[in-house]
Subunit: 519 residues, 2 copies
């Protein structure tokens, strides 16, 4: 089969059709204007639902059958239970035993715990995954073994796709740490608490059918109702929706690596000396070890100056909570929670507030939180000489990560990528990124242990740190330095076959991932 | 012009078309099955909104112009500022000075403060009002002077109409006691606090354009965001959105009338003796003097027995707050707030929770709060021998009230109407209601100062109070007794012309109001 491809505005060759549906090539930042109307699910009626509000059914299988599960349906799940999720796989175990085929799994992210789904990709219970592919699942896709084409979207792009009807969810299966029989649900409480359910909103609002699965059924009313019961069809009570120690991320420890600590210190120093860091600005940063170290250094600066962040946007960690409680952060707005300290905080502190990605990240809404953020700390697997970024493939060409909120966060005022100059002796700065996930015009600063490169588009930033003593370099200098140490890495070899499409925040196709050449 | 009418399932003659749009005659409780999809507004894009999230424009006029205000548009407002609302009239003052004609005003309720809009009905700035008509506005409609036909909906029916696309809101103008520049807004804070914004949700979600008008602009983030900023187009800051002493209802005083107190005592006694009142049940009642008296008597019973309501649904009053704080109520779920004590409560008590009518009352959703309520205390202007109820017209035929949540609340398990046997020597129980707002099959008990009538459909209730010593009568006995005292009132005389349509909760037409014959 020949695939019609075109060169998009980023110079990448992309198809005009994916999984039998027409798609739009990327046109540039802010260039694509949507023309349609939001997706609209069918109008339900209360006469189909129990007067007493009790929607509990006997099992997940019963709920799936009542939802009319058939071949080809799209099933969505959220990833708040992370690597401790016991619900998503169960859905496909049941689908398989029912004998349903060609499903689309549409998770907000996948984790290693989802690797067992490979057997259902093999036997065509699942046609494809539209969502992040990590580890073994990513390898499976990169080897061209998945029947359908993967579609990778940012968290905000996922909301956009649901809202705009690009993805029609037939059944949303929403795991809930606490729920009532009407279907109101929240992320706190019970033995599988994950804190907030910031990724569930678009799913339950737009899906045709919604199943809430909980191991902690409480009396109505369950508050705050992060899932609104009047969108819910069925409630299923199970023994256990998750494995607590795997729900909480293992990544929320400050790095101990001297190189990473140096990067963190340089980043904090850059923020201070450039004047980006000042009283009343806003910040978002990841939960990785380097990010936490940056936050630690930054907090010290704030303390010394008597400054305070207006707010921070989560995923929240114990470190953000520390800033909130010690007075260096006004509010935490939060779409996901990474550790138990942050759960305690959101349960007790009125300045720690759930803020769904639906409200924060969807580019097809009337404004976003992203573009209001002053300081954005992000990662990348590769950055190229034009500051373009890659977060989904490694330099070896394997699809090994999802996009997460990364593309959305690029819309912040100052996007800073603290990165090691190389990982396992593979340089991170390359001539051209293997997979383009974010255009270089949105990436402002690269901070490495051997120097800081500022995007030439940001002359204001370059001016701001002149004479500051910071180790400023061009991105080419950084690349050359890495290559002097590691040598120039071999580029991965690909076949023609497209195994995954990378969407931009507006639903257009910014790049694709192709099948790795068999060795 | 001849109007095609049919006899609907309630035996009422209703048209097949209203304001040029086809409508569906009432088919019976739970009999109408919607077949369409929810309404979908256009997909917006962040590229049209300021990156810094600041949507403040210079004036309401500027905002209306930016929204593209033109002839024939539908403008929605909410009624949380009640008789102290300074925003709704202003919209039409501006529309008039701009020279726009034939607008539809779609408020969640109107108040006497809106009487000045009559001049805009006269000069055709406004074609019609779709919403409650009280006092002078109602009289205006009843006299056949409004160009278009009024459409009256319950609070839940209003949500249904918006969601289902029966009413397409061009511009929602949402007054907000507190808001940030992004458009997040809430009902507390500032000098015009109204407590919650439980009637705004469908409007801002489905309107093409949304304007938030506030007199208390605060720094982002405004929480809780009862209006979500990412649905908002413009924010307008004005000196004053409301007159505080008129925002708070004047009705939240316990009745001092001996007759009304007797009705209240009989109602409480009925609830106790029938066994409806017990530990853990749920209650909703109005904010009128009789309702408050009932609540007082009921609280005494609860205290003596050591019982507690699981929750109560507001509009909340100081009396509900008293029950919450003294331990006779587990939660208050709240869509509107009637007095300052209740505002204090929702600001400080985590068991007092906003619960929009969007979630509580919409019959076209996946279940409702209404049908989960055990005890529902409601009023009526008339009840007939078949227990049918009227809440919009008086016995003189004038349209003088809105439906409020009344039709929605009829879906509760036990619907009890405490009513005086006559008002101003006009009997309340009649042969046939002037206007049918709710079918008798949903109305269970009428409590008057001269006896209690139980709907024969509720044999269980009749059994439950046998031998209780309560003054049980048939509804005919009550009617006869009233007529012995007051005489049989003259029926109002109507012309053919339909001046208002009364919708049932599912969007069908249950009855109409016709023009009063000129005298």
């Amino acid at each position: 089969m020949t695939i019609n491809t075109v060169i998009n505005a980023a110079g990448r060759s992309v198809p005009l059709e994916i999984n039998g549906q027409p798609v739009i090539p990327y046109k540039g930042v802010g260039q694509h204007r949507p023309t349609g109307r939001k997706y609209s699910p069918p109008v339900p009626t209360c006469s189909d639902y129990p007067d007493d509000g009790n929607k509990v059914v006997g099992s997940l299988e019963e709920a799936l059958r009542k939802c009319g599960l058939i071949d080809g349906m799209t099933i969505s799940t959220h990833h708040h239970l992370r690597d401790g999720d016991l619900v998503s796989n169960k859905v496909f175990d049941l689908a398989s035993s029912i004998g349903v085929k060609d499903l689309v799994w549409f998770p907000s992210a996948s984790f290693p715990c989802n690797d067992p789904l490979i057997k259902y990709l093999d036997d065509r219970t699942i046609n494809r995954i539209e969502g992040s592919m990590n580890g073994l699942l990513g390898q499976y896709v990169s080897e061209g073994r998945m029947k359908g084409t993967a579609v990778l979207r940012s968290h905000g792009g996922r909301v956009q796709a649901i809202q705009d009807g690009e993805v029609k969810i037939d059944i949303a299966v929403m795991a809930a740490p606490t729920a009532d029989a009407f279907g109101n649900a929240r992320g706190t409480g019970g033995s599988s608490a994950c804190g907030v359910l910031g990724y569930a909103k678009a799913d339950y609002m737009y899906a045709e059918k919604v199943i809430v699965v909980t191991d902690n059924l409480i009396d109505f009313p369950c508050f705050p109702m992060e899932i609104e019961g009047n969108y819910v069809d069925y409630v299923v009570v199970v023994d256990k929706i998750g494995i607590p120690e795997k729900i909480m991320s293992g990544t929320t420890q400050v790095t101990k690596s001297p190189d990473r600590l140096l990067i963190a210190e340089l980043t904090a120093s850059f923020l201070e000396k450039s004047g980006i860091l000042k009283d009343g600005v806003t910040i978002q940063e990841g939960a990785g070890g380097t990010s936490l170290a940056i936050a630690m250094f930054v907090q010290e600066i704030l303390k010394n100056k008597g400054w305070k962040f207006k707010f921070g946007f989560g995923g929240s960690t114990h470190h953000m909570v520390k800033m909130l409680e010690e007075g260096q952060m006004g509010f935490i707005l939060d779409a996901q929670i990474f550790d138990p300290e942050a759960i305690r905080s959101i349960e007790t502190n009125i300045r720690h507030v759930p803020y769904p990605v639906f409200n924060a990240y969807n580019y097809h809404s009337k404004g976003n939180l992203n573009s209001m953020m002053d300081i954005m700390i992000l990662g990348a697997t590769e950055v190229d000489l034009n500051f373009n970024g890659n977060v989904v493939t490694h330099s070896d060409g394997y699809l090994l990560h999802g996009i997460g909120g990364w593309q959305n966060c690029l819309h912040a005022r100052n996007v800073i990528l603290p990165l090691p100059l190389f990982r396992d002796r593979i340089p991170v700065i390359v001539d051209e990124v293997t997979t383009l996930c974010g255009p270089g015009e949105l990436i402002d600063v690269i901070v490495t242990e051997r120097g800081i490169a500022i995007n030439p588009l940001r002359q204001d930033l370059i001016e701001s740190v002149k004479g500051s003593g910071l180790p400023l370099k061009t991105i080419r200098e950084l690349k050359d330095e890495a290559e002097r140490i590691c040598g120039k890495p071999q580029k991965p070899q690909f076949e023609e076959k497209i195994v995954a499409a990378i969407k931009w925040v507006d639903g257009t196709i910014i790049d694709v991932v192709r099948k790795l050449k068999s060795q």
